[in-house]
Subunit: 357 residues, 4 copies
């Protein structure tokens, strides 16, 4: 109940801190018989890892994963799958100046007040580095869902600061350093310039990310509290720096009339998808569409007013290596969270209602 | 795991359907020694109950609550508190025409596909009527939090369709039928006219609700998956008809720079509250501020295309009694969910870290 | 986490106190489509109810059950099933003398010390009366398991004080007031005489109960902590007054050699059942056999030394109406707990491994 | 819910197989601020490790533990504590003959039937080797409970086959290879001879273990399903090879009268302890006393009838290295399980009722 386990039937229990010896997780509840090797997991970890462009943190972590258990002769056995990633490029001295004071907008303040002790090296447990084990665990879920239902996860950045990015095709996201779903090179150049200027200023910026699950079976979700959308909201808001979550029409529904919002049905299927693939908390079989708002990184070089742990006023500047826009690397993380929610709900559905159609 | 229990340490397990004999809940984990009587709970139920103005459903339900257990000589004993509300004004015949077909935008379709059976009377389990037991349970949490920390919950409607409603004071919300936080009578009249026209049209409309928790202790929230904001998002997105959730700056953070978003600290406290009272998933002690988007009611008189359960095309009009804007009665529900989340996290904090400061 | 919910996927959340207005439970996770009516549940409640012979408490409770939710047109819908039983024959004045002092061997002392408040009327929440809702809930599980796998539950008293009762046939248990699995009328008469003498003495006595589940599917149980035998031990030790639990050979295995204890297998099946139907925490498909030790009732008329809540020495005699041997009515309760454990594990198995063979 | 996590608030999630690369666990919910280093944990692991006498398995495993997270500057931070133990002395070829057939009395049969796949090397996940991470986790709980309440855990073997071992003093258990609580050297010699003969015969034997928790706070345990004794029964029955559990008087209570069994109270405390320190599922503050029955090892050299995975009859003899009496090394394991249950219930008590007196 200390909040380090994600999921109820397909569970991921993570451990580790940004600058500790290792990070990792234990994945429990995986169906037996799935073919699985480290390369399956590495593939997803590589999409998230730091240091892949000048626009993200320059910390060099290969994030090489080792499977410690749960796989025998290349197949899952139904027992827990432990994943281990050794940290390699810690530079804890960069954090010397914030061990005693609190970065505005950062978890420094709250960890200190909650626990009376905190590991300040690289943000400790509150670091976005801890999304790596989750992305690893989700690689297992993605593989199983793909084989079972053909489910696929797509996503990308649809806004950076006040620059809107149109969603032309998810296929474009791997061709630029922003996971931008566009082939518009002028727009990509504009994003590059924006980020370069921002980095020079020692500032950071917010972003909006959209993710989609395709080929989702109908019937997933447990009303009335573990609704599929409620669990997605929980998963997404739990990602570092997220401040808003929308399903389907999201906040646009405020100004919609019922005659416009409600997706009409024909024998050929739904005519629209304002629902974002979920009605009454249960999947409709349409694409599940989610948007999230990601706040600007709190660790910036710009000096800001704060207090130290004794309550005295200080000015705080953060050195160390940071993503100036945490949104840039957020796409594989958001996909991972969505995959984990769906995987969990497939198992939950099977428990009460038998196998998923 | 079938999703009918809310919370982990202060749990609310609800039961009932819109037109069944009764609805209710079992509240478990309440600290012993709290003075509690039915009037404490009735007070909150009366804020939510139907039939209080012409703008909401005309179903007449007094929602009279009976405490069946857990209280001895006027005090909670630490054992489960069961709340029972008998349904009184069912008119199931009004639903005859939708027992075999699916309302666009409604859970009809998904319940049928998930369970292979559904209770169509008044929406069965998927009805917003099921928020009553939760509001009742939250009355207990509110009373305890008020006594222990002085915590208070406020909220109101801040947008109806495309009519924005400025938040002047939460005190105004009890003086109009919309929970609008304004004393602007011209604006209230405009809302009344809007709703009257809508009702005549047989249509429905979305709304935006803001809720705030004041006097919240610092340190609540369990990183890294049961973050306070993640749990609030789960609670809010789980309310019927909610499609979006924001904490603090919400989607505004997308266009914010770090130097603007991060709330500076002085020895006197935070200077701003873009965080919405939560950093790293843990409460800062500031007000917790939440916004939610509520979609328009799916049960409308306007005829719409749909299919029946055999997949044949039909036109669906909904009779029965419905709220043309479910957002109108949503304020006490959103307050209730926020109160339940905070109550749960106080107990979770005490478990690991000892009593809350 | 306050311990009032039994099970993980098929959950039973109970409420109520011995002398409160009502007792009951919410059953969540029941598969949809099961035919269910109140008579199905009443049948099992009647096997457990008080007042059926002179050897048990004379409190007159019809234990009439009302289904409040979760059933539509005679079938379960997959939503929570609430069961309500109104208390009718409370006589709280009989407990006047123990409101301030603690019965030796009773939960009076610990409830007071844990919660700082207790409902002393009839033992409050700690009363064995609270097994009624569980027996009701288990009736649903039994019906489903019977239909799905042909699973049946049998049990009876195999020892009363120092009188051993041979297990001739479970069919005999309904023909005598002790659930004794024997047709030996001389032995039954001896049990009657023993109980009559005990009642005259104002004393109480322990008993041993055996229960068996037949036609259990192979593969139920979740290693390595929610083993089927671990969960059975938890369920049985949680019944009021139980002090010991054995599976299969139980304590006899201490003196057994491996060459004797390990049940040999042939193509026709196992040759013996020292395992009690469980190996490595997973069901083998053999009968599951369980024995439990039930202590003598702590509420006796014999005066005993104790203290009051201020720590002063007192002599305690208990009036009120009590079972002189709580073991007599324990058979349907132990069957119920076993049924709930198996039901839960069928659902758990389905979640991870798909449908049960 | 796949059963690889022990506990609800102080949780231990284990992973690993007997012959995989590593075993370990993630401990979540540990209060912050506890001084902790690897030596604290190694101490308990060394009490359990194999190869320490000729009477136990000769597998050589140093069981060296590495703390991967959750500790900063020698103190726990409140974040998950991951423990890693690399396996070193696997000899999987010894198991060649049982990869296709099932040892009588072993989990081989049920794992195969449940999962359709199993890791046969050293018993895979079902091996008692998996008790090592739990013993490691419990070292943390023991340290915290000792500091907070002075709680201590003692235990030893009280019967080996049909040789009863009197409990003279727990201090003697470290002076002989059996954890026997006696200084009677003739008796120790008899145990040695018995084991030597057994080993020569290629057979195995059962044992009885008693464990005690001293200086336990009053008020631990959550009625009515997570009673302290129910949770202890669950914990103990979940240990490999356990077939019976008793609390306090255990099965002796069957023949006891209420006037004998109920422990009388005086202002100086309880006069007896038939309850084993638990009444109504809640600790009384007395010693908690538990006995467990451990079956003989199923892996024996004596040839036995069985079937292979296609159902054909085979004779099975087990080579590999095995404990001829798993009871010999069970004492630290049983202590560990008891410590974990108490730790968990301290946190649960704090959540609802505030700090423990």
């Amino acid at each position: 109940m200390s909040g380090n386990t994600f999921g109820t039937l397909f569970t991921v229990t993570t451990f580790g801190e940004s600058h500790g010896p290792a990070i990792g997780c234990v994945v429990d509840g995986c169906p037996p018989g799935l073919e699985l090797c480290e390369a399956d997991i590495q593939l997803e970890l590589d999409r998230r890892k730091p240091g892949t462009s000048r626009h993200v943190t320059q910390r060099q972590e290969p994030d090489t994963v080792e499977i410690l258990s749960g796989v025998y002769q290349g197949k899952t056995t139904g027992t827990p799958i432990a994943l281990l990633i050794r940290n390699q490029d810690q530079r804890s001295k960069d954090y010397g100046n914030i061990t005693e004071s609190f970065r505005p907008g950062h978890a420094d303040f709250t960890y200190w007040n909650k626990y009376g002790i905190r590991d300040p090296r690289g943000g400790g447990r509150s670091s976005a580095r801890l999304t790596a084990p989750v992305v690893g665990a989700a690689a297992i879920a993605k593989k199983w869902l793909k084989q079972k239902f053909g489910t696929e996860f797509k996503g990308g950045m649809t806004q950076l600061g006040d620059i809107a990015i149109p969603t032309e095709s998810w296929a474009h996201t791997s061709a630029n350093p922003f996971f931008a779903p566009t082939a518009d090179q002028a727009l990509i150049a504009r994003l590059e310039d924006y980020m370069d200027a921002l980095r020079k200023d020692g500032d950071s910026i917010g972003a909006k990310i959209d993710v989609v699950a395709q080929n989702v079976p109908v019937g997933l979700g447990e009303p009335i509290y573990d609704k599929l959308d409620a669990e997605i909201a929980y998963a997404m808001m739990g990602i570092n720096a997220v401040k808003g979550v929308e399903i389907g029409a999201g906040f646009r529904c405020v100004a919609q009339k019922g005659s416009e919002h409600g997706d009409e049905l024909t024998p050929e299927g739904f005519l629209t998808n304002n629902a974002g693939g979920i009605l009454g908390g249960i999947s409709t079989g349409q694409d599940i569409t989610v948007s999230i708002a990601i706040k600007p990184t709190s660790s910036i070089r710009t000096p800001r007013r704060s207090v130290d742990k004794d309550g005295n006023p200080v000015m705080v500047e953060t050195f160390g290596r940071h993503d100036p826009c945490v949104g840039i690397r957020a796409t594989p993380i958001a996909e991972a969270m969505l995959a984990l929610v769906l995987m969990d709900h497939v198992l939950r559905h099977r428990a009460q209602c038998g196998d998923v159609a």
